[in-house]
């Protein structure tokens, strides 16, 4: 097939509708392809290289999104498949990796901060400022109250044991590093990740 319909139109500069093209007997290939085979959906999608978020085989993936990143277009991910160049997965993906699209677009993806007051039975949406201000306040209250500057023996220990944190195991090294800096600067020691589970 020398030309797709789209290219044919581009090349000849004719703004003909598909049906008239067919009637004129032109560009049969493209017309027939559209008529029979499902149109290839990635023709002009934007391709972004990424790494699968699940296990640490760390398969290379190609994320295809709609929109060419023009100002007025909001990119929407339409398909994800394996990166054939990647030396480990060589384009393959497991059943989780092939379904990454469904986790990106999961109906249970969170879209706004939510808050549940003590004894509450429902979440309610709140602003980021409300959430972060309140969290910072609660943290400071607890830190100021329970921070251990010296242990019983009088040694400087500067630790905070009464608020803990679990760090994400799928976040980037850069996120991890920033998180480490913040947590340790606060003196936090109840600090762990998913390495064991």
């Amino acid at each position: 097939m020398a030309l797709t319909r789209r290219e044919f139109i581009k090349v000849t500069g004719l703004g003909l509708a598909a049906s008239s093209l067919g009637m004129l007997g032109f560009g049969a290939a493209g017309v027939a392809q559209a008529a029979a085979v499902r149109p290839f959906k990635l023709t002009h999608a934007t391709e972004t290289r990424n790494t699968c978020t699940y296990c640490s085989v760390a398969c290379g993936i190609l994320i295809y999104s709609m929109g060419d990143r023009a100002k007025n277009a909001r990119s929407n991910i339409i398909h994800i498949e394996g990166d054939p160049d990647h030396p480990v997965n060589r384009g393959t993906l497991c059943p989780k990796g092939t379904a990454l699209l469904d986790v990106v677009h999961a109906p249970t993806r969170l879209k706004a901060p939510r808050y549940r007051p003590p004894g509450g039975t429902e979440f309610k949406e709140v602003s980021w400022d409300f959430a972060l201000d309140r969290i910072a306040k609660l943290m400071k209250e607890d830190r100021d109250k329970h921070f251990i500057a010296r242990n019983a023996a009088g040694t400087t220990v500067n630790r905070w044991t009464s608020t803990g944190m679990l760090a994400a195991s799928a976040s980037s090294n850069e996120t991890a590093y920033l998180t480490w800096k913040v947590a340790r600067s606060l003196g936090m020691v109840v600090f762990d990740n998913q390495a064991r589970v």
Binding site: T48, R49, N50, T53, C55, A58, G60, S65, S75, I77, H86, P87, V88, T92, C94, P95, K96, A99, L100, V103, R109, K111, P118, G119, G120, T121, F123, W128, A136, K140, R143, D144, K145, A149, N151, T155, T156, V157, N158, T161, S162, G164, L166, S169, S171, S172, N173, Y177, L178, W180, V182, S185, G187, M188, V190, D192, N193, A195, R196, V197
Partner: protein, 810 residues
């Protein structure tokens, strides 16, 4: 992993034990298939269940959960008996010849130095006998009764095939067949690779499980060579990175330890770190420890870290206990010792042992913050979801913040894979709604706190106020900037101490950790990542897949720590003269003046073979350790201990049944069941269709495995009248799960100490949020027990009962 994923294809024998590579890491497992097809390799699987890995294996043997050490010790005994070890390698590269101190002993299941009150060992006797210069004594003739190889021989002598079979339930003929296959790889040009994962780690003897196989690999000369190694198939996409960057209670970036209470000053701290060589002329690379620590402090506190304030040593929190790991955290929570808890991309209600305890703990918090792209169970622990989460909202006083974050497709950054590769990824789209990156959220919390401390003062604000935050966009620092900070840069012109010539100009990004200094002239946030983002650009974003000799190295694809080295201990791939053990697959070889090959040498590049420097340069003796010295909490040699919940006595030493130093809190011990009430051995695992508790949110995966079930052998099912696909109630002392039964031929009763023992398989993927059907979660059943060294929960062997039941009301 010591080796790369692709390197697996160079193996002659692949043993999958303590893992289920085909299901948990299908795309990595392709290299096993490749080894079979291209290299004629055999695949051996040892697992309680006939898994999907077993379905493509050349040989499969069943084993009772929690008895791997007995099996592997039996293999060591077989290798030593048959003299099927790679002698040259063992003599030159392991501590087989070194002489152990007098006073070291092993009797009735306990090593010397046990303290019954503290449930711990005084490990001072677990070391080498030193000579006058402080070097370990050696007996190359292996005549000395206390040289390591002889102690080992003696230690494993009890693990005869009969005993192994009695403990593990593995038929003797199958055990011996596998021993034979393993022994064949003792040939210098043959390699076995060991692929394992949580099937080994999630035991009260997890670390020792792995150690036992590592010892086998050392005896066979399979460490450091192509197609060999100990390959831990890590779980999450960046769990390696999180560990590398030190997001564990006792770590700092680059495997530096967080100080302990007793280490009152930097010098005191350094005393136990900068290991002196234990053999003449050894590298003992940790001697550079101080450089890494000082550079880290400079990265974090910048100008505020000075020689005068000991590089802000006091600003680091000190530990009073070895670890504030998750089991301890939830124990503290249950005891009312925790006020707040932040779960960043983490779902402990599903992931941690003894779900009831987790729920009770969270209910006692004042506040809980979750940061996740998905609606996790943890963030809704307070909500009533019926029997799967019977919470009484009104009684729970915890304030809960559910913060929406971006996911992988919506951010830039690097991840470290199992083979230690740092790979950069790019953002493809904006996050939905108001979701924000973790970097933005952590910055937001930090800035607010800093502002509060600035305004109001409060407990020890110094480290908070002085934390470096010189980012172009302080609200949401660019990942590239953070990556550069971790890589490190020169803070002043770095000069050659001998000539005074400027080697590196101030402000330049470092090429590697060899440039780090302990005088405050360099900063590096994570020394092992040094070299990942240099003046040449982002090395993690490299995409040259060229693979010399197609040996599975691909040295220019992304970047691997340390120093872009792809195969750890690769010096051991060559003999004492620097020639490859396997001439067909050399990694590095001595060319007369330097080490050359397809990988970066894990060794001084110009250190002559004749210098006798051992290949294991991080170890003080430069050797691989068949005897672990005092570095393991539960013994320098591995020993079989029963799981904390076990159906049988320990046939080796009935008085010491399970690991004497395993992590068990008193309240958790009270929640252990006995075989009388809970007669069956259960083990938890993942299915290939799901990834933990995430993919149940993805519709396709929910379709592929929609509903919770347990796997039960046909014999037990018949005994209990359980039908295929029928409903069962599985209970442990801690809780019960009502789900469907998969009656299968793939689990057969094992003959353990003369008694048939049934194993029940409990996949762990279902919860009460997402697209799949609601489930109770395997952790409803599991005990809160930690491995003696890492505190990893014992998910892989515990006791349950199972009964037929009716369908629950819809």
């Amino acid at each position: 992993m010591t080796n790369t994923w692709q390197d697996i294809k160079n193996a002659n024998l692949v043993i999958v034990m303590g893992g289920n590579a085909a299901e948990a890491h299908p795309c990595g497992f392709k290299w096993v298939i490749e080894a079979k097809i291209e290299n004629g390799a055999k695949l051996v699987v040892v697992d309680p269940r006939f898994t999907r890995t077993a379905s493509v294996a050349d040989y499969y043997a069943p084993i009772r959960p929690g008895t791997d050490i007995a099996f592997l010790s039996g293999v060591i005994r077989y290798l030593l008996e048959q003299d099927a070890i790679q002698h040259q390698y063992v003599r030159a590269y392991t501590n087989a010849s070194l002489v152990v101190k007098e006073g070291f002993a092993f009797e009735n299941g306990l090593f010397s130095g046990y303290n019954e009150e503290t449930h711990s060992y005084d490990r001072s006797s677990w070391d080498y006998e030193l000579d006058e210069q402080g070097f370990a004594k050696s007996d190359d003739s292996w005549q000395h009764p206390r040289c390591v190889i002889n102690l080992l021989r003696q230690h494993v002598s009890r693990y005869t095939p009969e005993t192994v079979s009695r403990i593990c339930g593995t038929p003797q003929d199958k055990f011996l067949h596998i021993c034979g296959l393993i022994a064949a790889t003792a040939a210098p040009d043959k390699a076995m690779t060991s692929l394992f994962a949580l099937g080994w780690t999630q035991h009260s003897v997890g670390s020792q499980n792995i150690r036992t196989m590592a010892m086998i690999q050392l005896l066979l000369g399979n460490i450091g060579v192509a197609g060999g190694g100990m390959n831990a198939l890590r779980g999450h996409s960046n769990i390696q990175g999180l560990t590398d960057v030190g997001l564990l209670s006792n770590l700092m970036p680059g495997y530096l330890n967080l100080p302990l209470d007793k280490e009152t000053s930097l010098d005191e701290y350094m005393k136990t770190k900068q290991y002196k060589p234990l053999r003449p002329g050894q590298t003992s690379y940790w001697q550079n420890y101080r450089k890494f620590v000082v550079s880290l402090q400079k990265a974090i506190y910048g100008d505020a870290a000075t020689q005068d304030n000991n590089w802000a040593y006091d600003w680091l929190p000190k530990l009073d206990v070895p670890m504030y790991d998750i089991i301890r955290a939830f124990e503290m929570m249950n005891n009312g010792q925790l006020t707040g808890y932040i779960c960043q991309g983490f779902n402990p209600l599903q992931a941690f042992p003894d779900r009831g305890k987790i729920r009770r703990g969270l209910s006692k918090l004042k506040f809980l913050v979750t940061m996740d792209p998905l609606d996790t169970e943890t963030s809704r622990f307070w909500q009533d979801f019926g029997p799967q989460n019977p919470a009484r909202s009104a009684e729970i006083q915890t304030e809960v913040f559910q913060l929406p974050t971006t996911c992988f497709a919506e951010e830039n950054g690097s991840l470290v894979n199992s083979a230690r590769w740092l790979q950069w990824h790019w953002k493809a789209a904006e996050a939905p709604g108001e979701a924000m990156s973790d970097i933005w959220i952590m910055s937001g919390i930090f800035h607010r706190l800093r502002e509060l401390y600035r305004k109001e003062g409060g407990a020890f604000p110094d480290p908070i106020l002085n934390l470096t935050w010189k980012y172009t966009d302080p609200v949401e620092p660019d990942p590239e900037e953070l990556a550069r900070e971790m890589n490190g840069r020169a803070l002043a012109d770095l000069t050659d101490p001998a000539t005074g010539a400027v080697l590196t100009k101030a402000g330049t990004l470092l090429d590697g950790f060899a440039q780090l200094r302990d005088d405050g002239t360099t900063a590096s946030g994570c020394w092992i990542f040094s070299g990942s983002f240099t003046e040449k650009g982002n090395q993690m974003a490299r995409r040259d897949a060229t693979d010399p000799r197609e040996q599975g190295i691909a040295p220019n694809w992304a970047w691997a720590w340390p120093a872009n080295r792809r195969i750890l201990y690769n010096r051991a791939s060559a003999d004492q003269d620097g020639k490859a053990w396997n001439p067909a697959k050399p990694i590095i070889e001595w060319n007369g003046s330097r080490w050359e090959g397809i990988d970066v040498p894990d060794y001084g590049p110009t250190v002559k073979p004749s210098d006798g420097v051992g290949p294991f340069i991080m170890n003080a003796e430069g050797m691989g350790r068949l005897f672990a010295r005092d570095l393991m909490a539960d013994g320098p040699f591995p020993e079989h201990y029963e799981p904390l919940e076990s159906p049988v006595e320990n046939v080796l030493h009935p008085k010491v049944r399970s690991n004497p130093v395993a992590r068990v809190f008193a309240s958790d011990r009270a929640a252990f069941g006995t075989p009388q009430h809970y007669p069956y051995v259960a083990t938890t695992y993942r299915l290939t269709e799901h990834f933990h508790f995430w993919t149940k949110h993805a519709l396709i995966n929910a379709i592929l495995q929609p509903e919770e079930f347990v796997e039960i052998g046909e014999v037990l099912a018949k005994e209990k009248g359980i039908e295929q696909g029928g409903w069962v109630k599985v209970s442990s002392k801690r809780g019960e799960v009502v789900c469907k039964a998969y009656v299968t031929k793939r689990i057969k009763p094992l003959l353990v100490d003369g008694k048939p023992t049934h194993v029940i398989g409990v996949p762990l993927h279902w919860g009460f949020t997402g697209q799949a059907r609601k489930g109770y979660g395997a952790n409803t059943l599991t005990p809160s027990v930690g491995d003696a060294n890492t505190q990893t929960p014992e998910f892989k062997a515990f006791l349950v009962n199972v009964e037929k039941t009716g369908a629950p009301a819809a």
